[in-house]
Amino acid sequence: MEQFFGFALPGVPYGCTYALVAVCLVLTYQATGVFNFAFGAQAFASAFVFTWLTQYHGWSGWEAFLVSVVALGPLLGWAFDRLLFRHISNANSTAKMVCSLALLVGIPSLLPVIFGPQNLDATTTILPFFNPNVVYFTIAGTPINGIYLATISVTIVVLILLTILLRYTSLGLQMRAAVESRRLVQLDGVNANGVVAIAWIVSSFMASLAGVLLAPVFGAFNSDDFVTLTVTAIAAAAWALLRSMPIAAGVAVLIGVATTVLQGYIPPDSFWNAAVVPSIPFLAIAAALLILPGMRNLDASRDPLATIDPPPPPIAATTRAPSMNRIIRVLWWALFAAFCVSMLTWMPVAWATVFNNGLTYSIVLLSITLITGMAGQLSLCQATLAGVGAFTAAQLANHLGLNLLIGGLVGAALAAAVAVVLALLSLRLKGLGLALMTLAAALLFDATFFNSTSITGGPEGVSIQAKWLGTHAFFNFDGHAMFLLSISVLIVAVVVVLLVRKGTVGRNLAAMRGSETATAGLGVNPTWQRIMVFALSGAIAGIGGLLHSLEQQVVSPTDWNADISLVLVVLVVTTSVTTVEGAIQAGIGFFVTEQILTTVLPARIGASSLTVVLFAFGALTYASHPEGVLEYQKRKGTARFERLFFAREAESEELKAHAISTSAANG
């Protein structure tokens, strides 16, 4: 028993920090309807600033605490609400999720841009009377030092205060009412925006607190630890059905304890220690989603006033005057021809590489166009599927001598199979539930298959050898082979997506987006439609993954981890997730922007990080313009252009539309 406690007690401080963030997730979801993936990033930001101030500027723990937690935490929460989430309170759950994902991706990338790369070592605790280096007492042979005491005591005090606030104050009641319908609460004379702002401020304060508490528990400062924090908190919040704070806190502590107990009992150098222990939070999320019926309808709209919102605008291409469409089509073909000729003739190697990267990324992004743009579901594991395709092809070439491109087809089939398994596992899930399930799958792959040296060749990845592609005459890396291959596959992928979109399956998916109940009521099997689109999306991602790795000449696990899945979603959502050109613009735009920033900015400011930040900020506009920033600009530009040059035609189209709507109104 003493050994058990010896293993269990070190898990309590971890569990306490997880509990703080889990409670933040529940509080924010209950008060605002936003499932804020970014709390982990907020915790990271506060811990980063706290450690930076104490380590490099000699501030005391208290002073740094005041700035990084008391000031920065609430400020971030207030800013998120005031500048972003308040304006999208009536948006659908996907829009809110995308915005929080953009923050999750953007904040950690923004910090190195502001502060430069840092080598931080977190050792200071926030409470000066708990010295991290002093063992105050021992329980079951486990020394309890200042870090333990600071973490546990702060967590307990904060949770008690929060419980009092929510249970015994009218503010708590108003917060619960605001999530049902902010507009209805306002009709009752409550300042709903103020109530929600307080929820954001309180929860952000707690996230910041969790960050600075967690940093010294881990000892070294590592952003991956904050991913673990987020994921574990998500698992705990899921088991609490995003409703009960005590359950969320309890499950969080339980996961913290279970992790250290398993770590203690399982031999440290065994496969199980490497694979199972890090997978506990992901398994906990998946289990909650599969077992708890309440997780299936998380984002069903509860606002009785939801129907007063205007419908989203149609995409630009459907509203343009026919002559304008013809001109644009010709211009696109001219641009495409000029691009191909340039790539085959004068394009410098550095820029050719940039465009090839963009083309191959576009293929992966097209898989998101299928899932999110057409099926209306958010998948957060598309990079994982791309990685499955790439690693399968590389290992088949390495061990069986199969040509890499033929292996790519096998890889695509395997990626499709993985996607089908995911679709089957998440049959009853949609919206937030599906996003969480796919995120759990991505993280599980990171912790298991992508962490296995026999599959990925370790963190460096598997280098692609020229002989895997056949003779030099067949595939010449130094020539235009990569471009020709990428552009050909991209064209095929675009045609596939367009055919599906205008075909029966595309129409059924569009119908399911509107009402799955009514679609099933017409005899359409929603399960089968979803499986088909997942499979196709997985196959496209798998092929795109192989081609991108081929361009890099290495298949690396860091290219296809869960973080990249989130970045991919943010990229394509920024441009347009509903159109194929959106995926292509996002793919090429990302690498072109990165190349330009690398050229013009000093190396201290990471161009790659800044590019992610720029796209993340772009994705924040998703809720206002769910069609994408570029698509929105395209629509505005089209309208302006038409007013100038096609006034008569546009006018006649407008008159026609008016006549239709008038006759419709007259029945």
Binding site: V496, T504, A518, T519, G521, G523, L536
Partner: protein, 258 residues
Amino acid sequence: MADVEPLLRLKAVCKSFGGIQAVHSISFNVAAGESVGLVGPNGAGKTTLFNCVCGQLRPESGDIVFDGTLLEGLPTYKRARLGIGRTYQRVEVFTDMSVRDHLMVAERSRRGEGRLWRDLLNLSKPTKDEMERVHATLELVGITQLADTSVNALGLGNCRLVELARALAAEPKILLADEPSSGLDLHETAEVAAVLRTVQRERGTAVLLVEHDLSMVAEVVDRTVVMDLGSMLAEGTFDEVMANALVRDAYLGQVGLK
């Protein structure tokens, strides 16, 4: 002469939510081509019964047999393929889609199409026959002029008509219409009633109509079933049930039907 098997047979169907008995031992039949009204005050369990028939809810006990097939365990889409069509109390339209596309979804489903390989080989273009059938249904419901309009641009009344047209495009053997006149004005209600009569007479489609507008019920149905608090109060012709004292008490209160 042997008894003709009814198209839809409900036998002692029960459904409860927690401690509330939403549907309690409901039994009645609907013959092929017959039009039956299902009326009762709010909370009587009419929509719950519809959900049990369509497979959105699973009854705790009782049998539902449609066209000789016991529906127990069948998912919604399989019941629809057997020939059960439905409109919804709360309008369920496919946002962003045009009216014509709504009907195309139903038409394709009726034909059992939806294979991915056909899409990938570009074999999924609407055929002339499909377009003609869709046009005929639009004409029947009287919304031809809205064919290319997005439902986002339509009001509630027109959305109800789109829903009705979509259900009819699937050519069901029975149409379960859940308060089709809700939100419609008098003129539109009369149009919907006329459409329901037409599909019953000309296509032989059976209709099970849930409706609060009793004048519409009287106009459309051959027979009426009255429910209250989950139980069946009465069954008979419209005039018979409305003359029933229990019905007048439970459903109409002391006012009665003039």
